[in-house]
Structures are given as structure tokens and as C-alpha cells.
Symmetry: C2
């Protein structure tokens, strides 16, 4: 086992202690596993709360800060957080204007956020929810009814966070989040499996020289397994799979996301191929992000997410953001 | 071979095309392999140029921008850039106030930057050089006479870049860069080897269940190989090795750097252990950075860099910076 850890049981708590020491602008409740903007609640603003299994960092905790999430709830590795975390987060960030839960479409997350919404409403907190389900690889999967939520989560959290920051009411923030998700599609490719601390061995078998097209962010099976392809061929496959489903008429935001162990050198090269395919398909790219944002522990590979935008969404995307994982304009 | 590439021969050029498309604020000369701030030369300011083998991204190209480097020259993977690239970069960024070359201490880089300095001076460009040699693991190494240059490069480039941005003259920027290097020490640990595209197999053999203490950023041998240790034990070893050499009396800047394939979840947990050791040794931490900044392709592992600072260096560290890899305050 090649892991920089103490014991599997304390991986998440250890990481939260390390986050707390690195980011004094966040309040990290290690015991209760809630990461909150230090200045929360922000008066007269809608708050955004997300969360999910750990192992996808910087998602979600790294996206807490002005212009994006108000709080995040990390679960155990690849395991949904519990409702108690979500209620605690909602109570910490609600200014009275309500809270939007951003939920990736995995069975555990959906159930727990549903229960948390009920509990929070019992405490007098107004809650709305948006489900992120952008992954075109498969419908229904190992942990999912319907499509999995992956890279689009970043677009939803950033753009809806900007709307909340601009003072939009809850129903408007929710509608924008929904619009971002409906206009986003992703496809991921694994060149190697990932290893969870608890298991200590790869989550699935992927022989060297093969890749998994359409892999999920927990190593869930994708569409097909093939012999190793070039960066050019992978870009063709991934972009065409996304475009076949999205058919954008407007410009798009592009996320070329590393799964964790793929060097930035390779990721930039892959990005060049993705841009080539998009140009060949006459898709206009209005904004780009290349890096490790929605990861799968030590998996090698990459994913492509497109989000069809309009002027309002682009303005919200460009708005200032200040989080550990995403920062510009302030 | 598990790489997201086309062919090994085009890896660097492909990555540069991808960088160009991702970062319109940079001018990327793919053919000549020079990455330059689009607004260069900046009137009345000293310029900073660095470079080195590719495979350590975001170093150096990802650190080009206001408040840090003026230009970077990427070589082939793990191979020094050539003098022609450095001269071209210097000519592109020199405002007449001179250029500081930031050179990591590897034989090829040192020779080529020396030659480039002579050639640039022949063209009427005033050049100063600073050598970065912070790695306490070994003196003399596979590609080095003396100590290797690793994590401190980030501190030198950021802090000297801020001094240049503030209008300091060349000799002052050089002196500050030298002061940062002299007050910085690093130690790295590998949990797995890395694989270069050209070789296609690991650069060294590291059996599962063992680690290399004091590894270089090209996989050069370190001080010793041991059976797998916990995050806590590795932090004790790394921090004590650095402190034994640095013996800081002032507060320090801390870089907990991922080698490339270590998940952020593990890196934050390791950071918590590094902070624990520093507290036990009564070292005050004035600033922290946790992430993948000076990488070694797909190597798993981490390095610790400390830089002893004073008020001036801390002010320069905190000054605004806007690059693809490091950004705050603007």
C-alpha cells in the first residue's frame, strides 16, 4: 500500500486538521466534519451547502469561500456524509434567506440530503435542492439511479454561488443551478484504478495497456474497455460522447479535469486535443479550466465537462471567487 | 504504459499548445518553447526568467504572470532547456532594467543558463543569476554538484518576483532571491517512482511497501530506503532533516508539496503531521501552501520546504500574484 497516511480510520479527520491549518479563512469542525466560511452566515444572502464522499478533493471542501460554497460536508472516503452534518452546515450558514443543497446524484447522497432537508426545515430553515447528474457514460450505475454527478458540480457550485453572492433569492439561485446542470455533460476516462485507504488495493482491475471509457469518479464501470488509445483518440471519443448528448448551440465552458494521478503536463496536452475536436465541431469555447478539480484519489485519467452558457451564466462564471481550490478576481 | 499522450516526442509541444489555449494572458511560443507574460516587457521593472526540464508542472510555466516570473523556458522532460530559449526569453521580457535568471542546481541547467547569460549580455541585456540549492537530502547527486534545487524555487520566484514588481533594481532583486534560497531547505519522500514518456517504465525501482527518503524530483536516490512508514513518521523524519540544517530563529513559510500522484486528501493529512512536528519544535509558521507545485510527473510522495523569513520577505510573499499555478490578491 503506497499511501501517505497514518491509519485508514483517521484519513478524513487527519485531512480536515490539515485543511484547518492551511486555510484560516475556513472554520473546520473536525469532529462533526463540517467546513464553513469563517464569515458565515453572510447577511441577506442565500447560502450554498454541498458535500459527498471524501477522495474527490478539492471538491467540495476546497470550494468553500466567497463566491462559491458556504459550507461543505465531507463523508468517509467514497461514502455519503450523514444528514446530521448537512443540518449542522445549513444551520451554520443560513442567514434567514435559505439554503441550497447541491447534491451529486448517488443514491446515498440523495437519500441523506433529502432527510437533511426535512430536518433543516423542521428547524425553520428554508431549503432547496439541486441534483447534479451530468455524466453521459451510463444511465444507472453502481451507486446511482439515473446519471452520475461529476464535473458539472464545479460549474453548478461556482455559478450558483455567484448568483447567491449577488443577492439573488433562493428560488432564483435554485433555478440557475438547475439551468447549469441541465446544460452540462461529462465523460471520464481511467488509465488506472484508484485505491481507497480502507481497501488498500485497487477498486477495480484495469490491466496495464487498457483504459476504461466512461469511468465513474469512484471507479464505477463505464461504457467500454479498450486497448490503450492516444490522447487524440481519447479526446475524440470523450468530446463526441458529450456533444452527442448536449448538442450545444451556444458557447460552452470547458473543464478538462485530471482524475488525480495524471501529470499536469499530460493534462495540458490532452486539453490541446479537446480544443482541436471542439474547433472541428464548430463549438465555441467561452471559458476554460484545466487541472485536478474533481478527483478520484490516485486514479490516472481525465474527464471532459462542457456547460452550454448564455450571457448571464458567463457573467456569473467570471465573477470573483476566493476558495482554496478556485480563485480569481479577489 | 499508462499515459495520456500521443507520442513521447510531442509531449512538451502538445502541453504548450494546451497551455496556450487555457491561458490567454500568456504568450506561448510553442516552436521555440518560451512562455512569456503577454504584457512583457513591463516598463521600468526587472524581469525574472526561469526554466528547467518539463515534468514538474506547474513549475515553471505555471508561475509566469504579474508578481512572479516574466518568462519560463521548458526543456524536454527532465532535461535542461537550451541557451537559445533563455536568451529569447530574456530578450522578450527585458525592459532595460535587467533580467534575473532563477536556476535550479542541476549541471545541465547551470551550464546552459551560464551560456545564456553571456549571450544575453552580448546583446546588451544586463543579467544576474541566482542558484537554488535547497534539498538537504544529499550533497552531490545524479545530475548535481552540490545540493539539488527543489521546492524553494517557488519561494524564490514568488518573493523575488514581488520585489521586481515593486520596482526594486536588479542587484536588489538578486540579493532578495539569494536571501530566500539561503534561508530555505527541503526534503522529499517518494512512495512510488515516476515514469517518463520517453522511457515508458519507472525511472527507478521502488518495491511496493518501501519508500525513498530524500528522493530528488527526477527520482534521484535519496538518503535511505525504508519499509513503509506512517504519515506521522515521515513528517518527523522530513521536518527534522530540514530543521537540522536550517535551525530557524524566525518564523517560516511552509510548503507541503505533492509529487504529483498523491491525493490532496493524503497531502492535507500529511500537512497536519508536519504542523504537529513544527509546533513540537517551537517553530512558528507564518504562511502555508499545500498542494502540487513542484511535481515529478506521476510520482507518489511529498516534500517539505521551510523558508525562514523576516518582515520584508513576508510582505513580499503576501503581495498579490496572478499566475496559472499561484494566485492571490488580484
Amino acid at each position: 500500500m503506497r499511501m501517505l497516511i497514518n491509519v485508514p480510520e483517521t484519513v478524513v479527520a487527519d485531512a480536515l486538521r490539515g485543511m484547518a491549518a492551511a486555510h484560516p479563512e475556513l472554520t473546520v469542525d473536525v469532529e462533526n466534519r463540517v467546513i464553513v466560511r469563517r464569515d458565515a452566515p453572510v447577511a441577506d444572502k442565500v447560502a450554498l451547502v454541498s458535500g459527498g464522499g471524501s477522495g474527490h478533493e478539492p471538491l467540495h471542501g476546497g470550494f468553500v469561500g466567497p463566491g462559491m460554497l458556504s459550507a461543505a460536508c465531507p463523508g468517509e472516503v467514497f461514502t455519503s456524509p450523514v444528514p446530521d452534518q448537512m443540518v449542522r452546515a445549513a444551520a451554520a450558514v443560513d442567514s434567514g434567506k435559505g439554503v441550497l443543497f447541491v447534491v451529486k446524484n448517488y443514491t446515498g447522497d440523495v437519500l441523506n440530503f433529502d432527510m437533511a432537508a426535512e430536518l433543516a426545515e423542521d428547524e425553520g430553515i428554508q431549503v432547496a435542492k439541486v441534483l447534479v447528474d451530468d455524466d453521459v457514460a451510463v444511465t444507472d450505475s453502481l451507486y446511482t439511479a439515473g446519471r452520475r454527478g461529476t464535473g458539472a458540480t464545479l460549474f453548478v457550485e461556482k455559478i450558483a454561488g455567484a448568483a447567491a453572492d449577488a443577492g439573488a433569492p433562493l428560488e432564483r439561485v435554485e433555478a440557475i443551478a438547475r439551468r447549469v446542470n441541465e446544460n452540462s455533460r461529462s465523460l471520464g476516462v481511467a488509465l488506472s484504478a484508484c485505491t481507497t485507504p480502507a481497501k488498500g488495493s485497487p477498486t477495480f482491475e484495469l490491466p496495464s495497456g487498457e483504459l476504461e471509457l466512461g469511468v465513474g469518479i469512484h471507479g464505477e464501470p463505464g461504457r467500454e474497455r479498450r486497448a490503450m488509445m492516444t490522447s487524440r483518440e481519447i479526446a475524440d471519443f470523450a468530446v463526441d460522447a458529450v456533444l452527442e448528448d448536449l448538442r450545444p448551440r451556444n458557447p460552452v465552458l470547458l473543464l478538462v479535469n485530471g482524475m488525480g494521478a495524471t501529470p499536469l503536463l499530460e493534462l495540458y496536452g490532452f486539453h490541446a486535443e479537446v480544443q482541436r475536436v471542439l474547433a472541428e465541431r464548430n463549438v465555441v469555447v467561452a471559458g476554460v479550466l484545466v487541472g485536478n478539480y474533481v478527483t478520484s484519489l490516485d486514479m490516472a485519467g481525465a474527464s471532459v465537462t462542457l456547460c452550454q452558457i448564455d450571457e448571464e451564466l458567463l457573467r456569473l462564471w467570471d465573477a470573483p471567487v476566493r476558495t482554496p481550490g478556485l480563485r480569481w478576481g479577489m
